[in-house]
Symmetry: C2
Subunit: 146 residues, 2 copies
Amino acid sequence: MPAPASAPQIPVPELAHTLRMACMRVARRVRYESGGTVAPHLFSVLAQLGSEARTVGELATIEQVSAPSMSRTVAQLCEGGYLTRMADEHDGRLVRLAITELGEQTVRGERERRDRWFTERLEKLSDEDQVLLARAAELLEELVAR
Amino acid sequence: MPAPASAPQIPVPELAHTLRMACMRVARRVRYESGGTVAPHLFSVLAQLGSEARTVGELATIEQVSAPSMSRTVAQLCEGGYLTRMADEHDGRLVRLAITELGEQTVRGERERRDRWFTERLEKLSDEDQVLLARAAELLEELVAR
DNA sequence: TATTGTTATACTCTATAACTATA
DNA sequence: TATAGTTATAGAGTATAACAATA
């Protein structure tokens, strides 16, 4: 009476398509819903900066953008008070960027706002579905990590 | 010995965060992996056009962009042979855009390429995990649809 | 001489305002 | 006169090339 132990075969290319579309829609929708106080590329840089300061070159590499572009982006973030420039102790050419308290507040606030929209939806699901999605999140993280 | 019938409680805000991040990483990674033969905003318009033709205004609304912007985008797609302009039979002001064979080929090719990367990863999962992710895709679609 | 970062310049995508043609 | 689409012009982000400062 119970289903056989082995799960049914799933057509993987089809799964890849529907799952990819679902993820893209979630990502797009969340981005769209959250108003955002800073421009997307500014937030992206800000979100990268944790406790340790980074150089302009490092940020340019991380964000897949040219050095001049990052130089401008960083200038805007400094002007807005989200970052501060610090000279490197050993190499005078380097400019180390550290996130300010305002910068951290901004990142936290934006993340909370983005999560809030999604949280409200997820709360309406059954416990079983929530558990399933939690496991799905684990699987997806493993997939893209490799 | 078996787990209780009711699923365990999941902290939803935490789930929202991890699941959102997972979806964003998948979306970003897939976009990054696929080289892309046409610019993102061109592809986005092209992918919207199914069998029925759309007007410039409709496309502008769908893509959340101004009419002049869409006018330019459409002009590029027509120039590249991806779209063709057609006069509306009843209203001379309207311009109906229909996708060409080249346009359809481009959309198909790009989708296949994007799906390929993800397919290769998903194939390595167990049947059980594939079934779980298929169900997760359904749930996510329902969540963002509303 | 090589490297880090900035400035100079150009190109692309987007937007608002003005314009043309159809209703 | 109102609407669909296009052209005119401007603003923002990015890129390559040239430059300044430091190693």
